[in-house]
């Protein structure tokens, strides 16, 4: 068993390109996609009505831009209208003297959020002005500002779901987990091609007629694929945590277990595929299809939380990557308990056992 295992590493050293390429692709993809998402503000194109003076306009913009969520970018009216008309953005904001309008291309969700926020800013400011105008006292504004900064009472509301009932959505971790788990499918399946190749070359028969037991031959291969996949995930995670400061939490043991279960599930899936197809060319052809399908359905490319289609949701439950994403996020963000993880982890293991059993059986039947 050890000889077969070591041989795979020897062969890997001769042709490391593919595995290294998958590793690099993961890093590059995570780096760029997560990099884009880190400026996580929604840009709102903003233009002003002619009645609004330049000074006044800038004042409003400053106030609006105090938000973490939105970025209000001023531009000429024609430009903003054009952007909405061509669908570049879904809405634009028009500032008027003590009022505003939202220019909409189509009815949609963002509109309410923007409207809500802008409305709040305007109401507050206008109320302040009203009080000032009523002559209660010239220092009222600074009093209020001070009071806001040093509140008498603070109420903090929090929930697992995150503020305002939505899920906590850490875009950067979603990308890191999704891309890593996606690309490692390639690494593992391509490494498993060694088995298909041995059959093609006839070296498999050499191993079978030798005193080696058949399970040793299988185990040698499977262990190699498992380790190479496992190592890839861990190295990527470490890289992003240590070098780029991604916050993966501190539940390392749990994460290692999750990664192990997932890697096992994918290795087994590979065995099933090898059992199903006849040649290594066919295998090469179906690997990208399988990897992409699993990743898409299982929520590696976008958070499964935004999927509303029932069929898609149902399908996602059959994908090991869904459970891996779920538990990884659970460990890094949501603070899942061990009990919460038992079911998803068991599913991955079960998935692995079934695929492995069927795969090896199909292979032996040939």
């Amino acid at each position: 068993m050890k000889s077969v295992f070591l041989l795979q590493w020897q062969r890997f050293r001769r042709a490391p390109i593919l595995v290294l390429a998958m590793f690099l692709l993961t890093v590059v993809f995570v780096f760029f996609i997560a990099g884009i998402h880190s400026t996580n503000q929604l840009t709102v194109y903003t233009y002003s009505h002619e009645s609004l003076g330049e000074e006044e306009r800038d004042a409003w913009l400053d106030m609006l831009n105090e938000s973490d969520v939105f970025h209000f970018e001023w531009m000429e009216e024609s430009e903003a209208r054009n952007a909405v008309a061509t669908g570049e953005v879904s809405l634009a904001l028009q500032l008027m003297e003590e009022d505003y309008r939202i220019l909409l291309a189509a009815e949609e969700q963002t509109r309410y959020i923007v409207d809500n926020y802008v409305n709040q800013v305007f109401m507050e400011e206008l109320r302040l002005r009203e009080i000032e105008n009523s002559g209660v006292g010239i220092d009222f504004r600074s009093d209020v500002t001070q009071a806001m900064e040093e509140p008498v009472l603070t109420v903090t509301s929090s929930s697992i779901e995150g503020v305002d009932g939505s899920f906590i959505h850490d875009e950067r971790l979603q990308v890191l987990f999704g891309m890593t788990l996606f690309f490692v499918i390639y690494t593992i399946l391509f490494s498993l091609m060694n088995v298909a190749e041995e059959k093609k070359w006839g070296t498999w028969n050499r191993l079978i007629v030798s005193p080696l037991r058949k399970w040793e031959v299988y185990l040698g291969h499977l262990l190699y694929c498992f380790m190479i996949g496992y190592a890839q995930i861990i190295v990527v995670f470490l890289l992003f945590q240590q070098v780029l400061g991604f916050d993966l939490g501190n539940r390392y043991g749990t994460m290692l277990v999750i990664i192990g279960c997932y890697t096992f599930a994918i290795v087994s899936l590979g065995m099933l595929l090898i059992g199903l197809v006849r040649t290594s060319q066919q295998l090469q052809a179906i690997i990208p299809i399988v990897a992409t399908a699993i990743a898409m359905l299982g929520g590696a490319f976008w958070p499964i939380e935004i999927v509303t289609n029932d069929i898609m949701l149902l399908l996602s439950k059959g994908m090991p990557i869904f459970y891996a994403m779920d538990t990884l996020k659970g460990a890094a963000i949501y603070d899942y308990s061990v009990l919460d993880m038992v079911t998803p982890l068991s599913f991955m293991v079960l998935f692995g056992v079934v695929c492995m059993g069927v795969g090896i059986n199909l292979m032996e039947r040939r």
Partner: protein, 310 residues
């Protein structure tokens, strides 16, 4: 030492091997002959416990190996028909690995690897990757890989296909030496009759999954002891001439060769005159005539009605 009993293999309704009985004594060298698809490789696969027979038995020292092939695997070396090596590794690395799976380790492994590498004459190039080797060199490594663990029985499935005469001769010489000096039992499969003539004590001839003749070379040749072979070289092919000779009742068998014709006729039949006359009529120019006693090849032709190679 090794015997098969009514060995049979059916692939999806197609009978590849149909009741083969053969035996092999210690240190013997056996030839297995047959045209393409005769079932030679399948027979070998069953003997080497790679393929399970549909029925029948394979026994080593009287004990069946079908259920428990462990003993067999230790004493058997198999040289597969197709080259079975890790091409991205060097010959040295390949042999090291194949030695390891037979349980060899450390110094013993190293010395065994060097021994077989020397045996197949690849000492200087052992550290080069197999991809850079010629077909003949790959064949030699392919063979070396089966001999690391000093098997008692070496099974070779057409080990010399597609290689130059020099390499072929080298391989044959190596095998013969192993057989004669070290008492290695050899089961040798080939399309080349001269290889089998040179190497093997006894021969089995297979066709359509069955053994159609067996015995020592002399015994087999005596099948045709009452016949002789006439080789006729012609200026070119004369299909009509061939047709006519083929139809001639006194000629047992006629065959077109590269140079002309081969006729098997009853000994002392004095047919040469007739042949010359017929050739004259077809305006065929006879360049050379040779009368021989039959070879194994002729026996094969006689038994199967086919040439060994197409």
């Amino acid at each position: 030492m090794l015997e098969t009993e009514e060995l049979r293999k059916i692939f999806k309704g197609k009978t590849a091997v149909d009741g083969v009985n053969l035996y092999m004594d210690k240190g013997e060298s056996i030839g297995l002959l047959g045209p393409n698809g005769a079932g030679k490789s399948t027979t070998i696969s069953m003997i080497s416990s790679l393929v399970k027979p549909t029925s029948g038995d394979v026994r080593l020292h009287g004990r069946s190996i079908i259920k428990d092939p462990t003993n067999m695997r230790q004493v058997l070396g198999v040289v597969p028909q197709e080259i079975a090596l890790y091409e991205e590794l060097t010959a040295y690395e390949n042999l090291k690995f194949f030695g390891r799976i037979y349980g060899l380790r450390g110094k013993l492994l190293e010395s065994k690897v060097q021994e077989v590498i020397e045996l197949v004459g690849l000492k200087d190039r052992q550290k080069e990757v197999v991809t850079t080797y010629s077909g003949g060199m790959k064949r030699r490594v392919n063979m070396a890989a089966a001999m690391l663990h000093e098997p008692e029985i070496l099974i070779m499935d057409e080990p010399t296909v597609g290689i130059d005469p020099q390499s072929r001769s080298h391989i044959l010489e190596t095998v013969r030496e192993l057989n004669q000096k070290k008492g290695l039992a050899v089961l040798y499969t080939s399309h080349y009759m001269e290889e089998v003539e040179r190497l093997c004590d006894r021969v089995y001839i297979m066709d359509h999954g069955r053994v159609i003749a067996s015995g020592t070379k002399e015994e087999l040749k005596s099948i045709l002891s009452g016949e002789e072979t006439i080789l006729i070289d012609l200026d070119r092919q004369h299909p009509k001439l061939f047709k006519e000779l083929e139809g001639n009742k006194s000629i047992l068998q006629a065959l077109e060769t590269e140079k002309g014709l081969k006729l098997i006729v009853p000994k002392g039949s004095r047919l040469l005159g007739t042949v010359f006359q017929i050739a004259e009529r077809h305006h065929a120019q006879i360049l050379n005539v040779n009368v021989q006693i039959p070879t194994l090849e002729d026996v094969f032709l006689h038994l199967t009605g086919r040439k060994l190679r197409d």
